[in-house]
Symmetry: C2
Subunit: 182 residues, 2 copies
DNA sequence: ACAGCCATGTAACTCGTTACATGATTAC
DNA sequence: GTAATCATGTAACGAGTTACATGGCTGT
């Protein structure tokens, strides 16, 4: 048993393991708020189907509070998470970067279009950084070594450093492109 | 007409538009070498099905050289690429970062396992950087403003800066974790 | 009363992967 | 001759998306 589930299953199980029981709806909100910075936040419909899968495997338990069902990680769920963490290679990050993809074809788009795109990307990176900064802030008070949000806080800081770097790269790029204006 | 194709179609069409006609096999190698740093390199079988799709839409032309078929971007293909570049938002990069995902659950994995994982990730980032540096080097001589590999070179440098940052972040993270060793 | 959020799911579909199948050419 | 690489595809499957359908609760 304990076949490997899809990564997204473990991601959601992991989110559930960090706090109180959540409904599918709440779990989706949690994913939108935190998971999306270093994984994909699954569609609402997938959240429900992953929860059904986790339940089928006995990794979560249902609680029927009124019209809402909340899900809680079982002992087996926790054990399976640990087994998964201990097993095998995580693998290297995969980046799907539509701005870099379009930059590759900059010659076809023209310098001005490229510059406009990069300006927008810079603004987007700053905005993204601000949202993540808020998340990071919300963990304060429980983020010291030994406390429950220690590792989530480290992940958030990783994300902030990534976004800072993204903004810096674009600024440098724009400076280089501006030099060659006619 | 000119419905939007999947991004990966445009990515492959873009690769084809940068150089000589390529066979499916060669295109896959090109993607493994360059595209994978900022997009996914599609499986061999998908390369063939995307080429079939591009051909169906009249965006590439086949040349039957012996047992090998090579593909060349048509005028319509080039126009469609330009239309796509001019149209709509690229969207923000999506990162699938299995190391960050596992770091989130560091409390469950234990400090030592986390440190081991981060060491491996650091080595992987360095190795990745070296491969990309090679690609970057191969563009030299054609990477000045106005030359054909100008924009691909900028994209490669973007990737190098991303990988440098990744390595730096992990080093910092390891230093912080080491401080709290018993 | 009406809008917006909370809440849960099903159905159809596409993207992309792995496994399978085949065969020619090249290097040793 | 035999292993590796070049070369092209098909079939089955799984992950993940959008569109659709439904209805209760909350604030104004």
């Amino acid at each position: 048993m304990s076949q490997d589930l899809p990564m997204t299953s473990y991601a959601l199980l992991g989110l559930l393991s960090l706090g109180d029981p959540l409904s599918g709806y709440e779990l989706k909100q949690r994913a939108d708020r935190t998971l999306r910075y270093y994984w994909t936040s699954p569609a609402m419909s997938q959240v429900y189907s992953e929860l059904a899968r986790l339940h089928r495997h006995g990794l979560v338990r249902k609680h029927g509070r009124g019209r809402t069902t909340t899900y809680e990680v079982t002992a087996e769920g926790s054990a399976e998470l640990q087994r998964w963490l201990a097993a095998g290679e995580p693998g290297f990050p995969v980046l799907k970067h539509p701005v870099a993809l379009r930059l590759m074809l900059g010659a076809l788009a023209g310098r001005e279009a490229v510059e406009a795109m990069l300006h927008e990307h810079h603004a987007a990176a700053i905005a993204e950084r601000e949202s993540l900064e808020e998340v990071r802030g919300s963990l304060r008070g429980n983020d010291q070594p030994g406390q429950p949000f220690r590792y989530p806080a480290l992940v958030a800081e990783w994300g902030l450093a990534y976004l800072d770097n993204e903004a810096r790269i674009v600024t440098d790029l724009l400076a280089r492109l501006e030099e060659e204006r006619p």
